[in-house]
């Protein structure tokens, strides 16, 4: 009895080690993760200019954000750039997943193709931005040279200088950078599906499309949701590419590529209206949260109804 008690108390002591082990994480987390999030929230209710004491101004900054036509324009720009990007990116990733998981064709070389498709993802956005900015130059860029040289276009296009093309050029470059990532995730999901399902379907004589719609797609739902939400969180925070390719926070031409985070950066770090910039950050966060929840509901809400 006594020894049992000793063992028990020793076990409790061992469990206390947990505090020691998580202590560094918790301390750094409180300082560098939690505090900045709460501090930004606090600043969003003040008129803070980057120095002196912040003065509380209530919801004034939020009112300003919600009535600021540039904020809404930038939100629309961001959604437009992200929307075109995600359609291209996920569409391509999906197509590749279908090709590589096809039982009939048994396409080989998955690991090599996967690696090559993923390569653009690894390169720093700054390098990608400069590479494409130079390649896409109106007068001297190599891409216009190739396209006019091959007779695809009569005259060079000012890709980054026209509001009709610039935002979509960013979308396409984004899709080029990130489709490999989405493909790898979707493919990992497909490989995680038990072979039994496919074999059973084959025995039942189900066609390729039926297998895809009835087995692959429903079982990929969790991963699709994950890819969708991570892409949304990243996409609505788009900054590097348009910032570097379209003339800093201006978002040339005529603000058509200015994203919400570029707008935030402009006020937070260029004109030092930190309180206002913080309100932009939280407004964007709420938007991301709402859209994520909608995404979740759309994908899972329907499923529940089917179950009934």
């Amino acid at each position: 009895m006594a020894s049992q008690k000793a063992v028990k108390s020793k076990k409790r002591d061992i469990n206390k080690m947990g505090y020691l082990f998580v202590a560094p994480f918790v301390i750094v987390f409180l300082i560098f993760n939690l505090y900045p999030v709460l501090r930004t929230l606090y600043l969003s209710f003040t008129d803070y200019q980057g120095f002196g004491d912040p003065v509380f101004v209530g919801l004034q900054n939020y009112e300003r954000v919600l009535t600021d036509k540039f904020f809404w324009r930038d939100l629309w720009n961001t959604i437009k750039i992200w929307g075109v990007n995600i359609v291209l990116q996920l569409g391509l990733a999906f197509l590749l997943t279908i090709i590589f998981s096809d039982i009939k064709y048994k396409v080989r070389g998955l690991s090599i193709y996967r690696a090559l498709f993923y390569l653009p993802n690894l390169i720093a956005a700054t390098s990608v931005a400069f590479l494409f900015k130079t390649l896409l130059d109106w007068k001297y860029g190599t891409i216009n040279q190739i396209l006019t040289g091959a007779g695809i276009m009569g005259s060079p296009v000012d890709w980054l200088g026209s509001t009709a093309t610039a935002p979509y050029v960013i979308s396409v470059i984004g899709a080029w950078m990130w489709f490999g990532n989405s493909f790898i995730m979707l493919m990992a999901g497909v490989q995680g599906i038990s072979k039994d399902y496919f074999e059973a379907a084959a025995i039942d004589g189900a066609g390729r499309w039926k297998v895809f719609l009835k087995i692959t797609l429903p079982l990929l739902k969790p991963i699709l949701l994950y890819v969708g939400i991570t892409s949304l969180i990243g996409g609505l925070q788009m900054f590097d590419l348009p910032f570097l390719m379209c003339g800093g926070t201006i978002g040339n031409p005529s603000g058509s590529t200015q994203t919400v985070v570029m707008y935030l950066y402009k006020f937070g770090f260029e004109t030092n209206q930190v309180g206002f910039a913080s309100a932009i950050a939280y407004t964007l966060f709420v938007i991301i949260l709402v859209v994520s929840v909608i995404q979740f509901k759309v994908m899972y809400g329907k499923n529940k109804n089917e179950g009934r």
Binding site: R39, L41, V107, L122, A124, T126, L131, Y140, Q145, I288
Partner: protein, 275 residues
Amino acid sequence: MAFRIKKSILYIALTALAVLCLFPFLLMMVNATRTGSEIVTSFTLIPGQALAENWQIVSGYFNLFKGMANSLMVAIPATLLSGYFSSLTAYALVVYKFKGNKLLSVIIVVFMMIPSQLSLLGFYDLVTMLNLVDSYIPLIVPAIAAPGIVFFLRQYCEASIQPALLEAARMDGAGEIKIFHKIILPLMSPGIATMSIGTFIGNWNNYLTPLILLNSPDKFTLPVMVASLNSSTDITANQGAIYLAVAISVIPILIVFAFCSKYIISSISAGGVKE
């Protein structure tokens, strides 16, 4: 027959897509060896003679190797810290029962989903308050608390550690700290390595945080240095030099990729399956 043709078309399409992924880098390499006026007037895939000349312009403008060294000085400690402390935290969450264990696990998931830009202004304000602007400390130390990596390693830990092993080590009189370092860390090392590649590349490529924190050009990390091409007018006149500067910034990652592509791919696959 039709089957074969269709299959060939598939392979051609896939290969074309792979070429499309590589082509911009190929153009970059070729153009890095040509003079500005050559690039402006014609397009070719045959390397030119101007590599040395371009290098002169680039090195006269900034020291890219210094930028690389700076990036390493941030990325290596950050990667080591996040690998070590994330596994420590993950292990503690799996093995020990203590008050707040559940709460911490929930907080970790919540903070994984919170966009980083949300706290950017508060973070900058904190760094100013701590007098750490233009220092590498705020770029490195936060790596100790990486919710996403703890989340992944926690699952890795659950799958790879057997309680019997811990009991046996405790019977032999090994202390908890020793058990972690001698038994657990080696056991978890494949998972840590997988995560570390991602952490390293993320830190190496990070642009926005160093952009707002670093002021002195001799402390610039590689992405910030490359981005400063934007404000220089003399170098933009010479496209060859820009291509060369970008090429130099990209080559280290290409080399890492050549050796570690397998691990990199598996780390993303892991991210996909975790949900």
